[in-house]
């Protein structure tokens, strides 16, 4: 379980994938490099204050033999523990050209409110 950390950039490891977390004005953004993964094989799940990213990458070659294997394959997974001020209902994700982007909007802080005087 990774606690969400600003600017954190994990290099890909033998059975992992590269991710990057940053904080913008009103959201956190988690990006994950998942080249060669079909969109249908990516699952993003929110559970209480946890975010799970799960993906499956098939073998590169369905036939023939492999001469060199450097890309991660099979089950790929990463879990994050989220800060309290995330609006869980408003989390969105998109996948484009091998990059998964998950946006985690922050809860709107209620501004000062004038209290009417009876």
């Amino acid at each position: 379980m990774t606690l969400i950390t600003l600017g954190r950039c994990c290099p890909p490891d033998i059975q992992g994938f590269e991710t990057h977390v940053r904080r913008d004005a009103d959201d956190f953004v988690i990006q994950a490099a998942l080249p060669g993964v079909e969109k249908e094989k990516i699952q993003v799940t929110m559970e209480e204050r946890r975010l799970h990213i799960k993906a499956f990458r098939d073998d590169s070659f369905s036939r023939g033999r492999s001469l060199r294997s450097e890309l991660p394959r099979g089950e790929l997974e990463k879990n994050y523990s989220l800060p309290e001020n995330i609006d869980a209902e408003a989390v969105t994700s998109s996948y484009d050209n091998g990059i998964l982007t998950v946006r985690l909007p922050l809860k709107q802080q209620p501004g000062p409110r004038a209290v009417p005087i009876d």
Binding site: P12, E18, A25, G36, R63, E70, D96
Partner: protein, 157 residues
């Protein structure tokens, strides 16, 4: 970012020992050994980052699948120079937007490179490359058997 030595050498040793094509598909190995790779999502790198790839073959062709997440086709250049297949990619534009004091940069930028020494039996005329889902997919058809074979007649003095 300071280059940090990755604890990956053991893995590479195993791969290398079992790799009969070491002398062919292998031009850039030292980059994997000596550098922590900033990858595709980090924000700054001032030297080319090695592109990871899977290589395979069947009876008709060699196949390379190179990981280049978040690129556009125009960012990727594939060439063959003196029997070496060169993959280069560069993301120049910074999609940066300032909002309430925060800089938003969609994905990292930088240069990526990988070289593969090709076996002699690749038919360079028929090499084909496609880009989809962050993978550059290259087919390198083999020359038909016998095409590079030539009998030399031995003459008397």
């Amino acid at each position: 970012m300071k280059p940090v030595k990755r604890n990956e050498e053991n893995r590479l040793d195993v791969v290398r020992r079992n790799d009969p094509f070491r002398s062919f598909f292998d031009e850039f190995e030292s980059m994997f050994e000596d550098f922590f790779r900033p990858g595709f999502l980090s924000e700054y790198k001032d030297y080319p980052v090695a592109i990871h790839a899977d290589v395979g073959e069947d009876d008709e062709k060699y196949m390379i699948k190179a990981a280049l997440p978040g690129m556009k086709e125009d960012d990727i250049k594939v060439s063959v120079e003196d029997g070496v297949l060169v993959l280069r990619a560069e993301r120049r534009e910074e999609e940066k937007e300032e909002k309430k004091g925060y800089f938003r940069r969609e994905i990292g930028y930088g240069k990526y490179e990988r070289r593969f020494r090709l076996p002699d039996n690749v038919n360079l005329e028929k090499v084909d490359a496609r880009y989809k889902n962050g993978i550059l997919d290259i087919d390198l058809p083999k020359k038909e058997k016998g095409l590079s074979r030539k009998e030399i007649k031995v003459k008397g003095a």
